[in-house]
């Protein structure tokens, strides 16, 4: 049986990590990943104090910077890959705006349901197709890069991976914090954490929770400009199946807007869009989630409901 994964709500104002660790019966050290905090990844004093046990900072961000300095050829290739992904994201964003605008127009239109309902579903399906294509394209670029550059076989990366593996082997669980989800996921992959999360208990929150799911969707319903449409970012490490993790949902999504909630849920079906706000706790072992607290599900009807175990 695969080890448990616990997804938590944001930890800054209401830390619940230590409770989750104790529930898992973990007495030993914790390997912490705070690469999503980027330059601030070493600022884990609060985390250490909260956990009150040995915490090993894996320093994936710092390690990555070292790799980039020492393996310039790889760095240049990695940067080109990033440019390609950004361009792809930009094109997707532009296409998404028009496709989603059209879908919203049709969904809001009043008229004969017999005529409109099939059109509504097809308009939404067009958005789903675009999302799915983007997920495939980002995965293709990542796979092409892996095949061409074989990061795990490069000396500098292999050395860091071995060190990280040894550090994790000396701990009982991985704690993966939030931050910049793009930076975090890239660092996790670069250091081979996608394999380690399958053999080690994981506790993850905010962007860390997003990284543990199969599909990462970024969102902000009230940006300073633009329509604020959620975007598929790419694939996560797929440690938890069927879930779309939405940290800080109460702040970043207009959960009182039933139309937007419904559109979100229908667009990303069959994934379960789950809001992870303060105090949220989802405990999964294999495909089953055995403990759920303060996790709310966005429904196709436009409701935001407390999720039951």
């Amino acid at each position: 049986m695969s080890p448990p994964v616990v997804l938590l709500g944001p930890q800054r104002l209401r830390p619940t990590l230590v409770e989750a660790v104790e529930e898992l019966g973990i007495a030993g050290g914790i390997a912490a990943i705070t690469a999503g905090w980027e330059e601030r990844e070493d600022e884990i004093d609060e985390l250490r104090a909260h956990l009150g046990r040995r915490v090993v900072n894996l320093q994936l961000h710092r390690r990555t910077e070292q790799i980039f300095v020492r393996d310039r050829e790889f760095f240049v290739a990695y940067r080109e890959r990033r440019v390609r992904l950004r361009e792809l994201q930009d094109v997707y964003r532009r296409r998404l705006a028009s496709t989603l605008d059209a879908a919203i127009d049709v969904l809001r239109r009043e008229g004969d349901p017999e005529v409109l309902d099939p059109e509504r579903e097809d308009a939404l399906e067009a958005v789903r197709r675009l999302d799915a294509r983007h997920l495939v394209r980002t995965a293709e670029i990542a796979a092409e890069f892996e095949a061409e550059w074989r990061p795990g076989e490069r000396e500098e990366i292999a050395r860091h991976r071995a060190e990280v593996r040894a550090l994790v082997a000396d701990c009982e669980a991985l704690a993966i914090a939030g931050g910049n989800v793009a930076v975090l996921v890239n660092r996790l992959r670069l250091h081979g954490i996608d394999a380690l999360v399958r053999t080690t208990p994981v506790l993850a929150w905010s962007a860390g929770a997003m990284a543990m799911t199969a599909t990462i969707v970024t969102y902000h319903d009230n940006p300073p400009q633009g329509p604020g449409y959620p975007e598929v970012f790419g694939a996560g490490l797929a440690r938890v199946a069927g879930v779309l993790a939405l940290p800080h949902a109460h702040r970043r999504l207009r959960l009182e807007d039933r139309f937007r909630v419904s559109l979100f849920a229908r667009r990303f079906a069959p994934l379960d869009p789950l809001a992870f706000d303060d105090g949220a706790h989802l405990h999964c072992t294999g495909p089953r989630c055995s403990r759920v607290e303060a996790v709310r599900r966005l429904t196709p009807e436009g409701d935001v409901l407390e999720e039951a175990a």
Binding site: L13, G36, R40, E43, T218, H220, P223, P224
Partner: protein, 379 residues
């Protein structure tokens, strides 16, 4: 006007001033009913006028007197989402006083004091202008900077984002009238919030303040020199700043906006981001006649600028209130800026020439000029 208020103010029954005041205490004053706004005043007077600073309407509009009472009122049409500042002119005998509305506790402050504020239907004070307990506050450091341009030293307050790190490179925003932005436009709170929300990239913000802004901010060569040749190099020597034009910005309002555009024009390639709020971009198409002698040096800059703007910056955000006299100058500037090849965005608001108008546009302007990793960060 609401039927209840109309009945209180215009009915044939004996008037009851206390009932009016009770109504106001429940509803707030001015009484906003859709686009109808009723201003009320109580007090002995020969005449009372609403002075509202809306360009396009008579500056002072007389209030109606409710006979046999000390109640005065006026109803005006105010478009949705408007926000206006006002006072009452109260005349009694030969005495004329300019006072705030004592029935309205909503005030806006500026260097000259405070005005009463009316929020039209649909206006909401932006949430990001209010302190957010989750936002980590930045810190302020004060520097005394020697200036050959001005002669002597200038005090500059520098906002540093929370958790600033020497290993990271930061963008720089220089703010004209920076202390006033801090005091009257809640700049520090706004920065804390926008940085916390990742709507704006990590910024160091230098607040400059002039002891003689009417001269130094009127397209003044010494100010351009100080900003570009003295302040920026000094700050780059002290803080880890990105040394590209795209990472340097100027923010100013009114004459401060003139200063920002002028400095960028005089030092092209230095400031790649401009946030120009209600700029006093006075110009003449023929002759020299301007509204005020203060604006003469501005005209001396804007006229040749309009003839030969070059490309002083890369991205320019212009905002202006439609109730400002300067809306004409700003609307006319925008197409000219666009023709230079710069990326230009223009936003109008239903507001006047005041600090809260400028405060309310900061999010859109800063997030466009210095976008942060909004969608990607979940801490």
């Amino acid at each position: 006007m609401t039927p209840e208020l109309r009945a209180l103010l215009t009915s044939e029954r004996p008037p009851d001033p206390d009932a009016v005041e009770r109504y106001v205490s429940e509803r707030g004053s001015p009484v906003v009913d859709g686009t109808s706004v009723t201003f009320l005043h109580r007090g002995e007077a020969d005449a009372v006028y609403l002075q509202h600073f809306i360009y396009g309407l008579p500056t002072a509009q007389p209030l109606h007197h409710v006979p046999g009472t000390d109640v005065w009122w006026i109803e005006i049409e105010l478009p949705r989402a408007s926000r206006i500042e006002y006072k009452f002119v109260v005349e009694r005998g030969r005495r004329k006083r300019l006072i705030r509305d004592r029935l309205n506790q909503n005030l806006a402050f500026d260097p000259f004091g405070a005005n009463s504020v009316c929020h039209g239907d649909g206006y909401v004070t932006p949430h990001w202008t209010l302190p957010d307990p989750e936002a980590r506050p930045g810190t302020i450091e004060t520097h005394e900077i020697a200036s050959e341009a001005y002669g002597g030293t200038r005090s500059v307050r520098v906002y540093l984002p929370a958790r600033m790190r020497p290993t990271r490179r930061y963008a720089l925003l220089v703010v004209l009238d920076g202390d006033d932005y801090m005091t009257y436009a809640r700049l520090q709170t706004v920065l804390d919030n926008l940085l916390h929300q990742n709507e704006v990239t990590q910024l160091v913000v230098a607040c400059t303040q002039s002891p003689d802004r009417m001269r130094e901010y009127a397209a003044n060569e010494a100010t351009a020199r100080f900003l570009a040749d003295e302040l920026v190099p000094y700050l780059e020597s002290v803080y880890p700043l990105r040394r590209t034009a795209a990472s340097r910005g100027l923010l100013g309002a009114s004459l401060g906006a003139v200063t920002a555009l002028h400095a960028a024009w005089r030092r092209p390639g230095t400031f790649g981001r401009l946030l120009l709020q209600s700029g006093s971009f006075a110009f003449t198409d023929i002759g020299r006649e301007v509204r005020s002698p203060v604006l003469e040096p501005v005209v001396d800059f804007v006229n040749p600028f309009r003839e030969n703007p070059g490309k002083p910056s890369e991205r320019v955000f212009v905002s202006c209130g439609v109730y400002e006299r300067l809306i004409y100058e700003n609307r006319s500037l925008v197409p000219l800026l666009q023709r230079t090849g710069m990326d230009v965005r223009f936003v109008e608001s239903r507001d006047g020439h005041n600090w809260e108008n400028w405060r309310d546009r900061l999010r859109e302007g800063l997030a466009w000029l210095f976008p942060g990793p909004l969608g990607l960060v979940y801490e």
